[in-house]
């Protein structure tokens, strides 16, 4: 079950971050060895990404986060790095669904209100983000109830284990 109130630091990224930026395709041969694969998270975009992340931090991006390939390894390695939620102005469709299926929340909101290093508190049930550094309060776009149910169970596999089927 995913925690519903999260507190952590923002790591700010730009627009159009592709799944190739998140985990380059050239490491596809490591996909069955997630521990090795995850060492290359954001390798071409952010040198020493792993050392910048503390468990519980958030990735905060601009528009079209996670565009490109359907590789679910992208949200998977972000989650493995210690990131507990992604905030973006918009996210690519497949990435959005993959992240939720991995139990990694994606909140769509006006991320211009967040700077690198800001402390944030996120209430997933209400979809509200409080920027503790600037005191700004942001609301995120509501996701379909089925998707939220999948997220609450910690992802699609725990959801299916419990419910055996999709429930509308």
């Amino acid at each position: 079950m995913t925690e519903t109130v999260l507190k952590g630091k923002a790591i700010k990224l730009g627009d159009n971050i592709s799944t190739d930026d998140i985990i380059p395709g050239r490491f596809a041969h490591l996909r069955s060895n997630l521990a090795e694969l995850s060492k290359h998270t954001f390798e071409d975009l952010i040198p020493n990404f792993a050392s910048r992340v503390n468990q519980g931090d958030f990735v905060v991006a601009g528009k079209n986060f996670g565009s490109g390939s359907s590789r679910e390894h992208a949200p998977l390695v972000i989650k493995m790095s210690g990131i507990v939620a992604i905030l973006a102005k918009s996210a690519a469709r497949i990435f959005f669904r993959n992240a939720i299926n991995q139990g990694l929340p994606v909140l769509l909101c006006d991320t211009d209100q967040i700077n690198d290093g800001d402390q944030l508190e996120i209430n997933l049930t209400e979809g509200v983000i409080r920027n503790l550094t600037s005191n700004a309060r942001l609301t995120s776009t509501k996701m379909p109830p089925l998707m939220f149910a999948i997220l609450k169970e910690g992802g699609l596999i725990p959801y299916i284990k419990k419910h055996k089927d999709f429930e509308l």
């Binding site: 592709s18 190739d20 395709g25 050239r26 596809a28 079209n64 590789r71 679910e72 390894h73």
Partner: protein, 410 residues
């Protein structure tokens, strides 16, 4: 109120959530192993319909590494255990084989690959998903969708000489932007449809995801019928059109006669320029193939331009047919002969150099013009390389000159 094609296939109105049975669920060799892991973890022991489930070994095939070979072994074991379809090294690219063998008008198709949208050309609601969604769809025989709103793209006029379907879709992506159609269905209509071949429609549908779209649908018409008949599946044809009073979120019009040859510059697909702005950019590699432009018509175009000519001495020319069927027909028609004589290297049917796993990884500072669908930084295996996207005609002309060239000038 009438229905769009997406609403007709999903039988609901846009915005609704639907749980729908799938007609085909498939995975490939870079997303498949995680799907199988998730399937085994889910506790759902069997797949719902082996005859509607397919595995394609195409992305890194033949395998370039030990790890990939072990992944391929896992996929083969899973296919044996579940009795699902498996298409092997050299059979071709999943999306081309789905078009040749499976996709029918009105189908719902999900694949663990973002370019699953290709089958929208056959009026199938076909969309890409991740490994866990695909694992669940294999097990349950169904998945959930939110019915998308639709942008109608009205096409009029005819292509002028030297301009092709690739130029049309690049131009549209340039207009929409990389996220301009996120979550939307694109539906193609207008008086030009009857003149767009299935090969051209597949090129167009293939790339709708580069504007963020969930699906790219063509109506099912005589072109669809004739393609299905050519593949021995004429019985699967049924006409399928949107209702005249369907409601669209946005309507765009493109006159094909107004288009120029287009080139996507590094490092985003929507960074689209007319070829005149790209002229003279030196190329170390030209790659013709992929699920976007590796079909018989594409190889014919390239072969006709290259016939009797030579590639530029310092520009490698790689050609990968999209499937075994395409390769055999291209041999019979003499295209492969012309291409080899011009200096091309023929690669086995599959994804080849497209995603940087093998068969044409670029060196530091090298530039490649590719007929593929993506030019993200690092896509062809090296973040220090530059990738330009264009039509097979522009690719062939550029291979001759060793620099980006307007195909109307050779």
């Amino acid at each position: 109120m009438g229905k769009t094609l997406a609403e007709k296939i999903l039988s609901l109105k846009s915005g609704d959530i639907v749980i729908a049975n799938v007609d085909l669920v498939f995975l490939q060799d870079t997303t498949g192993p995680l799907a199988i892991k998730q399937f085994e973890e889910s506790g759902l022991k069997t797949i719902a319909a082996p005859e509607k489930t397919a595995i394609f070994i195409d992305h890194a095939a033949p395998s370039p590494t030990q790890q990939t070979s072990n992944d391929h072994m896992l996929l083969r074991r899973f296919a044996r255990e579940t009795n699902c379809h498996i298409y092997e090294v050299g059979n071709g690219i999943c999306h081309q084989l789905v078009a040749e063998l499976f996709a029918n008008p009105g189908n719902i198709i999900v694949g663990a690959d973002s370019h699953t949208v290709t089958a929208g050309a056959l009026c199938a609601f076909a969309t890409g998903m991740g490994s866990t969604d695909i694992a669940t769809a294999m097990a349950l025989g169904k998945t959930w969708f939110r019915v998308p709103e639709t942008f109608l793209i009205n096409l009029s006029g005819s292509f002028r000489k030297g301009i092709y379907a690739k130029d049309l879709i690049l131009s549209l992506i340039g207009q929409l932007g990389a996220d301009g159609a996120t979550y939307k269905a694109l539906e193609f209509g207008g008086e030009s449809l009857a003149r767009l071949t299935m090969s051209e429609r597949l090129t167009i549908s293939n790339m709708v995801v580069e504007a963020g779209a969930k699906v790219g649908l063509f109506p099912s018409d005589e072109v669809t019928q004739s393609f299905l008949s050519s593949q021995g599946r004429g019985d699967s044809y049924k006409p399928l059109y949107p209702d005249a009073d369907a409601s669209y979120e946005r309507i765009m019009s493109i006159n094909l006669a107004s288009l120029e040859p287009m080139v996507s510059f590094p490092h985003t697909v929507d960074n689209v320029h007319p070829v005149s702005e790209a002229k003279g950019i030196k190329l170390q590699q030209v790659f013709i193939g992929t699920c976007t432009n590796g079909r018989l018509e594409d190889l014919a175009l390239a072969a006709n331009i290259l016939k009797g000519k030579k590639r530029y001495s310092d520009t490698r020319l790689l050609v990968a047919p999209a499937s075994q069927q395409v390769l055999l027909q291209a041999i019979e028609k003499g295209y492969i002969h012309s291409l080899i004589e011009s200096g091309a290297t023929i690669l086995p049917p599959g994804c080849a150099a497209c995603l940087g796993l093998h068969q044409g990884v670029l060196g530091d500072g090298e530039a490649c013009l590719s007929t593929a669908n993506r030019n993200f930084k690092g896509r062809m295996g090296n973040p220090e390389a530059m990738i330009y996207l264009a039509s097979p005609a522009t690719a062939a002309a550029s291979a001759i000159k060793g620099e980006i060239t307007d195909p109307r000038e050779v």
